[in-house]
């Protein structure tokens, strides 16, 4: 669990904040002698390196691009302004921890989940580049290809000088997902995956397979023909392509599930911004703190975790029926 949490924790990498936190997990319940007991797993991560003064000047104004305003309206002006509360990125540590358990449920079925950044600050890859997801974890920016980090270094360096921040796009793949997961109507697999991924702060878009690109294709281009499994067997089939991204009619097809998430630039920029204060008066705000320059790459293990949790749920739902079948994967 600590390994995954370390991928998420602040204070490392080219887009990172200088704020160091150890994110050490203190388990309170649910694990005994090395195995889960069925009891809820509760843990505690102390907020070690929090300077309250960093947030003191933000008690009276609303930071643009942040949840401050919505929370103020939602909760009738009652607001704990320190550090963003539930809209802080710290909240995602629990998601990552949950994802570790979810992966343990998925592993016996061969399901693995890998994320990588494919775009940062508007800089992506030429079309038809073959991605190298396996190496992403060890690359700077969790980049999907060796060619990306040098390009991104320049953009990051320039944005840092300008006191500005960058957004990007994360690709997440779930490999070897059995066919048959997902519910037919309201809880289609892409719907619950969208729910999970878009519940992560900063995500503004989600797509499966060709996504918005599918809108430009014709049916004859977008359909994935089936052909016999090798060796042929009843109910056995493979696909000639994967435009669908592994989900058809809301149900997993047995192909890899391919998803993309659009990540907005971090709202905490260093320059002065116009805003209003609680009394409705014009004000200026300069967000001090020590903030990341981009949610990328720290958001990658969080998105992977949300996909893992969603697929583990879908798998457990389907397992009740005793009908998991692992087909060939195109």
């Amino acid at each position: 669990m600590q390994v995954e949490l370390d991928r998420r924790k602040p204070g490392h990498g080219p887009t990172g904040t200088p704020r160091k936190e150890s994110d050490t997990v203190h388990l309170l319940s649910g694990v005994y002698e090395g195995v889960t007991t069925g009891t809820p797993i509760a843990f505690y991560i102390a907020n070690e390196n929090q300077h309250s003064r960093d947030y003191g000047n933000l008690a009276e104004v609303f930071r643009p691009g942040h949840a401050d305003w919505g929370f103020f309206k939602k909760f009738n002006g009652i607001r704990d302004h320190r550090g963003g509360g539930r809209s802080s990125g710290r909240e995602t540590a629990a998601r990552v921890a949950g994802g570790v358990i979810a992966r343990k449920i998925l592993e016996p079925y061969g399901v693995s989940i890998r994320g990588a950044c494919v775009e940062l600050g508007g800089i992506g890859l030429p079309e038809h580049t073959v991605l190298e997801l396996d190496g992403a974890r060890s690359r700077p920016y969790c980049a999907a290809h060796d060619s990306l980090p040098p390009l991104w270094d320049a953009a990051v360096s320039e944005a840092r000088k300008a006191g500005d921040t960058l957004g990007g796009v994360v690709r997440i793949e779930a490999n070897n997902v059995p066919a048959g997961l997902g519910e037919p109507v309201f809880d289609k697999l892409q719907a619950v995956l969208a729910h999970a991924v878009m519940s992560v702060g900063a995500v503004k878009g989600f797509s499966v397979g060709e996504g918005f690109g599918a809108a430009k294709l014709r049916g004859s281009q977008n359909n994935d023909p089936l052909y016999p499994a090798q060796p042929p067997r009843p109910g056995g089939a493979c696909f000639a392509s994967n435009h669908a991204g592994g989900i058809l009619g809301g149900i997993s097809s047995g192909q890899h599930i391919i998803m993309h998430a659009a990540v907005k630039p971090i709202a905490s920029i260093a320059t002065v911004q116009h805003t209003v204060d609680k009394k409705g008066r014009a004000a200026e705000v300069q967000v001090g703190g020590r903030h990341d320059l981009s949610a990328i790459p720290r958001i990658v293990p969080v998105l992977e975790a949300m996909v893992a949790l969603t697929l583990a749920d879908a798998l457990l739902l389907q397992c009740r029926m005793g009908s998991i079948d692992i087909s060939c994967h195109a």
Copy 2:
């Protein structure tokens, strides 16, 4: 209710099927003397113009791009092949009916929801075109602008000759949504909207505000500065722009909620496709039936309904707290 259902029903418009269905609603419960009684609203729409033979040849093979394969795997080979069952577009009639009720909950708050098609077959609008959503309902294709239908007519005509189908992009706006809707963590407003919209068959992508475009912006470009409401008042503010699309930190900001959905081309194309049969043998399939050339524009009232249902839920959740406030809308 019948008005909205007529927007969804088959058999009209340039992309429509020649299959005519009246989609007449027979109410079974829930309405008495013109008002809802609190009892579940049940209704029945008879499947009037269904030729069973249209589907007879599909009992043994899997149609590419359809849910056939996933359902076959999910339900251990038990399959009612007639008409797609729950993965048929007919299922969406109930969503539209539900949306009509949801709009009645939203109306007293001034909330209105409008959808329009902004792209078909890859043909969209030049950047910075001002949309004309109000007229969309009365335009062919439910198009977002007068300039689009002529361009799309040509593409549709050409695709029809080729026996092919088209996808597109739908924009949905929710106007005058009060600030404060949505839950802070797992049920962020964009997450439940994504869940709802992506539960509609054929939707492969969803975004809020700048969406995937936000990934290319800098924080200083993407943040929406606040300025005092006119006249100024405590807790009053407006926004200088709406890159966020009306949601910040998962909570509605009081601005219009702007969403886009990517709609894939209809999988039922007229040409012969490669597939396999239930025994796993190579086969060919030609989908007869009388199918639409595009889910656009029939999908528009369905997506509007899903947004209406989601916002009505969020509004009722928040109303419990007695804190609805309707701010100015940029």
Copy 3:
């Protein structure tokens, strides 16, 4: 399904109404070629023998002992007074139909559910009488013992003359339930069973095992000692008694689950009662209609169905974990 629905339908037995209804099921969806398809099972039972005039005089007053008053307050005076709506016993037909499916899930595990009436109009059995539940279905009143119907005939005859109604107690046993069902905290097995059984109209009390009698026992009397299974095996045990009624700490123990439900007398009595009308004025009401003299025995298949649905849920939840074990049953 029709067999179970016939046990519930009106118009038969010593406590029955003369109102005859065939309760014929018209399946709308979910079953194809004799098996369920995974699609929701929808069916329609026409209300064949309903005289609207029976209820016409009830539009303006509230019947004592009925839901009229609560519904009037809940729905701000909007009320469809015809036949009780969702608070009518007709609603339970759907429960019985659902229970038939639930039993099909339970059967492969050997689980069977049997209900019987143990008390009517205050007349029960001498303590320590051995019940004969197997014969209950074919006895009048679904009585738990051959000695009961003659005693109850006299009470029913006398109540009928007085225009009055009777309550009673139903015992439900779930036999061969595997150990390990139920959730440890808020969804303890007795809690979800209580929820299910007390959601049936007219049920005013629910108990498991010794129930209210357990409050009078000492720990040394109420505890059920364990002894080795025959033949002994790891994790094998039987119980010397079953005061707990098959549930310990919210989890099924592998023993038979023993439940009792208190059923109030039918509120629709033939005599004149004091009440008020919608305008708050004193009024009298005489409930015409053709009503049962007791919910017993028609309520028995309904309670059985609710127990079956609840146990099927619990079983499917536990099956995910792959750990169903069927122990010996005391």
Copy 4:
């Protein structure tokens, strides 16, 4: 919050254990400057006086009357035997804390919830005794009447000598509950109350109003006639009696809600009991520890809390509809 938790904590009263725990609450989140912020309220109560050795000898055997056996079967033999885990009474501290918040939601509506013990070790009150619930909090055993503690002292003293334990019955009243709470079918108010109350360990039975006594009454006795409110007004009514216990057809009637819960004797008795060990061999167990002689009266604030939480839920659900009306209360 601490006040209510102190009512629940161990180590006081005539049935108490000598185990002293301070049950001091350490708030982790959700409260800022004296008000709740909308963030989940997390708190931590340290287990201060836990002798691990008390439980050491219980690792290999199953205690009769406890959840040990069910948990062992449920979780495939994986078991943290220390202190009962989630089946320990300690779990109820969180319920009491939640109830404190729920009461704050109910208070503005005038709703109050009071519990009292009406039976201990089989010793109750003569029929028709007028209860004195207001004084219960300050009486030993949280007794419902001044005459009870002396009678119970003798029973407790005798049971303590025998190393045995006692059960009892708790009455809970919810006063001034508005009419209209509860859902009409599966979530009838009595059903969700039953769920909540029977989710508390040791509760084996639950009833509303006359409960099992209603089964012995006739309709003409059990119905509660309505009469005009004073002064008369549209939709105004009072009831001549309250046999229903404040719920009709699953909906609150505006009368006081009267409930009873049967509490079994504590399973941890001091005498030697027969059982089996994990290997399925006959064994003996003597539960050392320092256990209460009865769950009464410590269970009272827990049951009150569960009722408060359930009613607060029902009230918030109904408030959405803007139709709370507080009638006169018989």
